[in-house]
């Protein structure tokens, strides 16, 4: 490894004693925690697949269409995960700062209701836009984002400047926003939503199709390669230790393979026959003998979740704001003495959380094509659980966006898997609760060892 600069009297003693695995991890700089999560996820997926296969009496390796590891099931899983994964990104920052937000589910419900009311009643009846006007979904979303920001700012202000504990403020919010959602329409469901708005919920129309999915995949792979390359250039500029070339290559290849594999999966899930036929009729296409294969491709809500994940990762790792969030979580007193305006940062974190609740509300209301009074109920718990399973420490100061998103995927996998297996909902709750506790316990054990 001629690449690594040698530090003769460095603190990195015992390097020669490392085993093969440890040397591999060191060279690739892979976070073992992350590896554990991915391992757990694969284990759960395999387990659910085998059990669902055995229950049907089919060979797991046949990948029967009713089992767990099928394009259809995984595609649905990706859409179902989006809303919680998006909010989990914000929850990471909240928890890193030693706060908590119990109100996100209710805020999501209120915002969903207001956006639904805006597009179905307010913008049409009071502003006078025609149904189907392309401005409707934009304005509804803007109203929702403004409301989310306002809710976050309001709660953040009380927490940061009036010094009421976040637990209490957001516990209040949990009740207040849910109640407020009821007032918008006196509890009536708002449906159907604007056709364009609905695209945020996924479905055949709300997916980008095979060609665009491949393009997204290729762009993502190029970005990965560029990021690895750029990181290397940066390290070289200051003569910092470099990863060996083989590790660099391996990381690139594995990441790109995962991306392209996911695209392939999304492109293997065809539209339902009825929709294909309607589409063919509308576009004067003759459906060939064995049926027409039109792939879903990546769903729009999944793209939204990925975008949120990337933006939030960027914010946490590369901006001043992100650095301050972590510093405050590590030692609020020190951050204050370093001249950081800790109150304003706290308020901003809750504002981000509010905006993300809006994004989640858009997805979940669009997905069910209605705004109901129960939208987002108990989501706060899933979101907190996702963040915590993803390695965000409730003591503050540590956590990652990607971990929280994986945590959301893990929770959702369990839940969808149990639905697929026909587990009744009381038992589902028991399993999810137990998994949460076990995951956090394992994490505690892990943290002590490292």
């Amino acid at each position: 490894m001629t690449d690594t600069t040698s530090n003769p009297q460095a603190d990195i003693a015992r390097a020669s004693e490392l085993g093969v695995v440890a040397r591999f991890l060191k060279a690739t700089e892979i976070d073992t925690r992350m590896l554990g999560m991915i391992g757990a996820l694969l284990l759960i997926w395999t387990g659910l697949h085998v059990i669902s296969s055995l229950r049907l009496g089919v060979n797991p390796l046949d990948f029967d269409s009713r089992t767990f590891l099928t394009p259809r099931n995984l595609w649905n899983l990706s859409v179902q995960t989006s809303a919680v994964a998006i909010m989990a990104c914000g929850m990471v920052l909240v928890i890193v700062m030693r706060n908590i937000d119990l109100s996100v589910g209710s805020a999501e419900g209120l915002i969903g209701m207001v956006m639904g009311f805006a597009q179905v009643h307010f913008l049409v009846r009071f502003v006078g836009l025609e149904l189907g006007n392309p401005w409707i979904w934009v304005l509804a979303l803007v109203i929702g984002l403004a409301l989310g920001l306002l809710i976050g700012a309001f709660q953040g202000f009380i927490i940061a400047y009036l010094e009421v504990p976040a637990f209490i403020v957001t516990l209040g919010g949990l009740l207040v926003w849910r109640g407020a959602a009821w007032w918008v329409t006196s509890g009536q469901t708002v449906a159907p939503l604007d056709a364009t708005f609905q695209l945020m919920g996924g479905g055949p129309a709300g997916s980008i199709g095979a060609t665009w999915s491949w393009i997204v995949g290729i762009v993502a792979c190029l970005a990965v390669v560029f990021a690895l390359f750029n990181g290397r250039v940066q390290r070289k500029r200051f003569r910092f230790p470099l990863r060996p070339i083989w590790a660099e290559t391996l990381l690139g290849v594995v990441t790109c393979a995962v991306i392209m594999g996911a695209v392939w999966l999304a492109n293997s899930y065809p539209w339902p026959i009825g929709i294909v036929n309607r589409y063919a009729a509308a576009n004067n296409i003759t459906v060939p003998e064995g049926g027409l294969f039109i792939a879903h491709g990546i769903a729009i809500p999944v793209l939204m979740a990925i975008a949120v994940g990337l933006i939030m990762t960027f914010i946490t790792n590369r901006t001043r704001f992100g650095r301050y969030v972590f510093a405050i979580g590590g030692n609020p007193e020190a951050a204050n003495l370093a001249g950081i305006n800790t109150r304003w940062i706290t308020m901003k974190v809750f504002m981000i959380m509010g905006v993300l609740a809006t994004v989640a509300a858009s997805i979940s209301s669009a997905r069910q094509n209605s705004s109901t009074n129960v939208l987002g109920t108990l989501d706060e718990l899933l979101v907190i659980a996702a963040a915590v399973i993803g390695g965000t420490s409730l003591a503050g100061g540590s956590g990652t966006i990607i971990g929280a998103m994986l945590g959301a995927l893990l929770m959702q996998s369990l839940q969808s898997g149990m639905v697929l297996l026909g587990v009744d909902s009381p038992l589902q709750s028991i399993v999810v609760g137990a998994v949460l506790v076990i995951a956090v316990w394992l994490d505690t054990v892990y943290r002590k060892r490292v």
């Binding site: 603190d11 590590g330 030692n331 003495l337 370093a338």
Partner: protein, 265 residues
């Protein structure tokens, strides 16, 4: 007397500073000044009010009364940012490090180096961190670890490095060598002398009377929140200073303060 008495405008002049926490008068009508290129040692028993006094200067606490002058002009210091704007840098007794981020992030906390795109320039910060840490503790290599994983002395080095990184004009050191080994302590001693020759004024809080006599030009002794007296280290003996600390007895070589033991006439 080998040195001329400090003349001209003091770099820092704190006058009649008081602060109380609940019923405790942690600092009571204390006055202290500091000239460029001077080291003033602040001494006193545990709980005498030394840290509290300098925390008022560094903006961590808001004083109840009193005035602070920087270069002869009244300064309004009501938070740490204000103090830094006046070139006042502080090494806190508690170190005040964000334990979960690495040394470079701590050194630049609140004053990060940014790239042209407005993102954190971690690489440049680490390079700078390596330079400044090299001056203090050349063996230090663990730049990538969160500082909680460092030893007490290494953490102290990080806290010192942070204070000297930004060209301070006034440096406050609250027991900077409490956790350091002999070699590192000597290094900090050298550093103090070097900064002093650069014209920086230093407040040094220490319980080590030998160190104090080695480094300081003047000593200021506090007792129960009050200043017992101020003296040039050349005008008093170590025993006399100990007497000031323990008994509050002001020797002839010192200028008595409000806290000096009143000898019954």
């Amino acid at each position: 007397m080998d040195k001329t008495a400090p003349t001209g405008t003091p770099l820092i002049d704190m006058r009649n500073i008081s602060i109380a926490f609940g019923g405790i008068r942690a600092v009571d009508d204390a006055s202290i000044d500091l000239f460029p290129g001077e080291v003033v040692a602040l001494l006193g028993h545990n709980g005498a009010g030394k840290s509290t006094l300098i925390k008022i200067l560094s903006g961590a606490y808001k004083r109840d009364s009193g005035h602070i002058f920087v270069n002869g002009e009244e300064a309004s210091i009501s938070n740490p940012r204000d103090a830094k704007r006046y070139g006042i840098e502080t090494i806190y007794q508690t170190l005040a490090l964000a334990d979960n981020v690495d040394a470079a992030a701590n050194l630049f906390l609140g004053r990060e180096l940014m790239t042209a795109w407005g993102t954190l320039d971690d690489v440049a910060m680490e390079a700078e961190a390596r330079k400044v840490m090299g001056r203090l503790n050349p063996r230090f290599q663990r730049f990538k670890e969160p500082v909680i994983k460092l030893s007490g002395g290494q953490r102290q080095s990080v806290a010192i490095a942070r204070a000297i990184l930004f060209n301070a004009r006034i440096l406050i050191m609250d027991e900077p060598t409490a956790a350091l080994g002999p070699q590192e302590t000597a290094q900090v001693g050298e550093l103090v002398k070097q900064l002093k020759s650069d014209g920086i004024g230093i407040f040094l809080i220490s319980h080590d009377i030998h160190d104090v006599f080695d480094l300081a030009d003047r000593v200021c002794v506090m007792k129960n929140g009050q200043v017992v007296g101020t003296a040039r280290t050349t005008d008093v003996t170590q025993d006399e200073v100990l007497g000031m600390i323990i008994l509050g007895k002001c020797p002839p070589g010192a200028i008595p303060g409000p806290g000096a033991l009143k000898i019954a006439a």
